[in-house]
Amino acid sequence: MRDRLRAWYNEELSGMEEFLNTEERPDATRVERKSAVRRWQEQLLANPEMQREIQIRQKRYHTLYRVVAVFSCILFIAVMLYVIAHFPRFGFENPRADVVARRYLDEGLKETGAVNIVAAMILDYRAFDTLGESFVLFTALVCATILLRMGTRDKEGTMCPVNTFNTSLDNILNGVGFFLIPCILVFGVYIVLNGHLSPGGGFSGGTILGSALIILSAACGFKTTDRIFTYKRLNILSFAALGFYSLSKGFVFFVGANGMHNPIPKGIPGAILSGGLILPLNIAVGLVVACTMYGFYSLFERGRIGHA
């Protein structure tokens, strides 16, 4: 079989040379030569034996792909189960790995003034990480804007209507939204402001605020939210929040690195005005997240934010 194929292939190869020689003229341009090669390729593909060979190869590739994929999944599970079997038992303390956690739990309240150690960790000890993550959110919004707004304008520059279904006429949505939206907004603000005292913080509270805005624009139509959230205002809000985060945290880093006294008061633990910079940073992160979530919804719903 293989020999036959090879012989056939050599024959075809000489055929190609012949083909090129007959086609080739001294004044032939590059495009003409290319089209000659393509015609030869089409002839080759029209050969039933060649087609069968291609089909066989495709099938063989698919079988190989499946086998390798299944094998890699099973190998992954086996290796990881072996690793897990040598882990410390679930639910027991692992003293070697808990050095950092111990430090956070012992000194966290004294050093940051926040009762919620997770908030103290992500907004004080690892604040630089969280800054990067806020920028990831903002960058994702910018990318989605670029991807989804391209091609929504026609040649004259007017916006093409994306297939939107007007939900603002729905009585049930309107009625439920009338009662639900204030509750969700209050809950979101509570979670953002109490990030250093109770579970939650900028990320979860910001998402809840964003979902309240989403329900508002779904229940009352985009006219209502467009009055508050134009494209420009959304950008300014995100930019102000990110700028405030960068500047304030940069100030703290500068002060700390040079061994100066940190002028930001820690406050009494447990009070709402405590935890140093954690409360304002929570608000900044919450604003960025809420803007991003509403922006995603608006972009996917109708291809633009605000009127622009």
Binding site: K34, R38, R66, A69, V70, C73, F76, I77, M80, L81, I84, A85, H86, F87, R89, F90, G91, F92, E93, N94, A97, D98, V100, A101, R102, Y104, L105, D106, L109, V115, N116, I117, V118, M121, I122, R126, D129, T130, E133, V136, L137, T139, A140, L141, C143, A144, L147, L148, M150, G151, L197, P199, G201, F203, T207, G270, T292, F296, L299, F300
Partner: protein, 127 residues
Amino acid sequence: MLSTLLHNYQEAVAIVLFAIGFATLLFQRNLIRKLIGMNNMDAGLFLFLTSLGYIDGRKAPILEGTKTVTDAYINPVPSGLVLTGIVVSVSVTAVMLALTVRLYKRYHTLDMDEIYAMTLKEREERF
């Protein structure tokens, strides 16, 4: 060894979830299903990390009163890591979905193999 594995069933479930997500990513040809598989992988990984920080009989790291007793709270480090991870995963998903919308607008299919074949044909036609 096997008793430890049985005791660590939660990590095992997390690994199985990760593997199911990986298999979804490999075998499904629909782009949206691939994205769901990627989210499954994320969730499995987060479950694995959180399981490592859990300590039996201890509470969430929200200190009660001003005095701290270290042996009363679970490990806060995985929680903080996973919290950042969840929000990054949603932004990645949004960008991927936007790319999917663009691909569908151009090729009018969600099938990954068909899209690949069409890009090959396009590249040929460009010459």
